[in-house]
Amino acid sequence: MLEVSSLHKRYGDLVAVEEVSFTVRPGEMVGLLGPNGAGKTTTVSMIAGLLQPDRGEVRIEGSAVRRETDPVKRRIGLVPQELALHDELSARENLALFGALYAIKGAELRRTMGEAFEIAGLTDRAADRVATFSGGMKRRLNLAAALLHSPSILLLDEPTVGVDPQSRNAIFSNLEELKSQGKTLVYTTHYMEEAERLCDRVIIIDHGKVIASGTLDEVRRLVPATNVLEIEVENPGMDGWCGELRALKGVDSAELAGSTLRVTVRDLVRQSPDVLGWLRDHGYRCSHIASQRADLETVFLALTGRSVRNQ
């Protein structure tokens, strides 16, 4: 069980994390969602003991981390956003080193390394230098390195950045397996579809604050807009006119990305003609229209007025 209470972290005038609280139970995966710079990594760093919060507390299985050598830190496995590996060493040498950090040696080390390589699907490459690995293989090894000491809580900070689809699916399978083993997982990402696929609950963070949290259905219900119109505009011209569109009754958000206009509406039947009429009246031509159910991306857009990936 991971309990995070009122975490607060400030860098000078910048409030990186403000009053962030949540709880994650064993066998549960919670997604920390938000754009780059939202405060996700800072939050994870405070949970892992890398950063000292200005206020607030983190409890791991009921115990707070009191000092650097606190044994409770053994219950945390951190998968950093960066590829925290020695490229010059072999995969086996890397894992042996990271195992030694937790005083694992001898037969126990060989066993845990074997399991970790199995999970990462890298058993046949254990003797190879990490420098020869693909980005996806390195990501899988990065994950395996955090599992050596059998932590009960796994902190995954954007673990799929720069990964090919095959490796991404492999990592997802690994995480689902770990969840089924009863591990507590915290997963930060700005890929909303990853959170939708993997997470039981999500916590949406923006500018260091939690702006929404709950199960996927609970979060979706937070915004009245449940439908999205995706309109391909032939002559989008300069950005800046979306504000007028947002002023229409029943329109919660409107955002132009390239030539694609995404408009969230509360009532598809009523507001669609209004939106299309506005576009026609202002001289915009449309080549394609599609509608879809609101996803987390839409929720974030509705809550903040901005897209996660455009940050």
Partner: protein, 424 residues
């Protein structure tokens, strides 16, 4: 303390260092090559190599027996390589750097010198020395050698019977001189004339000779043990390149911070002592290995021996290794990025090794700078190594350098720990 983690981190650092070809070349081959070069330049082993001679041009406008004799004597000096040239040719040769010094014997030099030898009221002939400003030291050396040969040649000529006769005749014609002085000088010249005629070897033996000879003895560890200039150059270069290795260890910490490895280390239940101490120990071990290899090479190839206390040598090496480790930690807190840190660290290191006497001995420095360099850790390292290697001093002479370097290590380490950014 998690000893498993500590030893694993030390092993990792050693393995990564020895896997890095560039680091290994810089740490082992570079000091050996450069130290060998400097050692050869500054005298080589036992001074057995022929030192290069100073190129001197002689311009003989006087064309007298005296000037020719001086030039012949100069040409016979083992320190000089003399060529006779015309004035303009000699000047051009100096200007273009082909000749270090040109000596011009002006017309009337011999006569004037002979007159001025006995008479202060007579004008002394001027001997221009044209020299290359970048060879000022050689010019001083040539001036000394010239003085010796001029004195011998001029006094020999001045004390010849003919020359003394001429001097007596000239004295008789002189009216301005004090009568008492005149009488005294006449008496002296007359006696010289008598002595010159009595000399069995003739006038050639009648001049002044250098009243002494010189016996050079390099005072080294033991009487009869020749000075081996490789000893100092290997000590200096070893200090320089080990400090460069120290920079690299600091850089590695910055790269680890960037790569996320630092996060992984900090996430583990490890004390700060394990994280920093393992790095310091691995740096110190690498420094010791480098010193062992470099001085081992100097011993086998150039016969550089530890003439002093072996325990003192080990102590100096260990203290310097610890100081280097602390220096590396200090480097890791100087800047936030490796790029920003490397340049300033290299500059500081070069200044340290320059002031420490790694390139040239500190006695060349002005006195105030020599005193100031006691505040530089490399000075203690070089002095300590010199004392133990070629000066052959006992352990007591190593205590000061060891204490100073441990003091610097403690200071550097304290600042590094104080300024260290623990948060990842």
């Amino acid at each position: 303390m998690n000893l498993t983690a500590f030893t694993a981190l030390v092993r990792r650092d050693l393995r990564l260092f020895f896997m890095d070809r560039r680091a290994v070349v810089m740490a082992f081959a570079a000091p050996i090559l450069i130290a060998s070069f400097f050692g050869y330049l500054f005298g080589g082993v036992s001074n057995s190599g022929a030192a290069s001679k100073i190129k001197v041009a002689a311009v003989d406008e006087d064309a007298s027996t005296v000037s020719r004799g001086i030039i012949t004597a100069l040409a016979g000096d083992q320190s000089l390589e003399v060529q006779i040239r015309a004035l303009e040719e000699a000047r051009e040769s100096v200007r273009t750097g082909k000749t270090a010094v040109a000596i011009v014997f002006p017309k009337g030099f011999a006569e004037g010198a002979a007159r001025a030898l006995y008479r202060r009221d007579q004008p002394r002939p001027e001997v221009p020395l044209l020299y290359d400003p970048s060879h000022a030291t050689e010019m001083q050396m040539v001036r000394g050698i010239l003085t010796q040969h001029v004195m011998e040649a001029v006094t020999t000529e001045s004390m010849s019977a003919k020359s003394v006769d001429d001097s007596l005749r000239e004295l008789d014609k002189t009216a301005e001189m004090d009568p008492a002085d005149k009488t005294a000088l006449r008496n002296m010249l007359t006696e010289i004339q008598k002595w010159s005629r009595r000399s069995p070897a003739g006038p050639a033996r009648s001049g002044f000779n250098m009243p002494y000879t010189v016996r050079d003895e390099a005072v080294t560890a033991h009487k009869g043990t020749p000075y081996n200039s490789m000893a100092h150059s290997f000590a200096g270069m070893c200090v320089q390149f080990i400090l460069f290795m120290g920079i690299d260890t600091g850089m590695v910490m910055l790269y680890q911070r960037r790569s996320g490895l630092w996060k992984r280390l900090r996430a583990a239940p490890l004390s700060r002592f394990v994280l920093i101490g393992s790095r310091a120990v691995s740096s110190a071990l690498i420094a010791m290995i480098i010193m062992l290899a470099v001085f081992g090479f100097a011993r086998v190839v150039f016969g550089v021996r530890i003439e002093g206390s072996f325990a003192g040598m080990a102590g100096v090496c260990a203290a310097f290794a610890l100081m280097t480790a602390a220096f590396g930690l200090l480097v890791s807190v100087v800047g936030k990025t490796p790029e920003a840190t490397r340049g300033i660290a290299i500059l500081v290191t070069l200044i340290l090794v320059m002031l420490g006497g790694s390139w040239v001995p500190t006695f060349i420095f002005p006195q105030w700078l020599q005193n100031a360099t006691f505040a530089v850790p490399t000075r203690w390292a070089v002095d300590g190594l010199d004392a133990m290697i070629w000066r052959g001093l006992p352990f007591g002479a190593a205590v000061g350098p060891i204490a100073a370097m441990l003091g610097f290590a403690a200071a550097f380490g304290a600042v590094a720990v104080w300024r260290f950014r623990w948060e990842a």
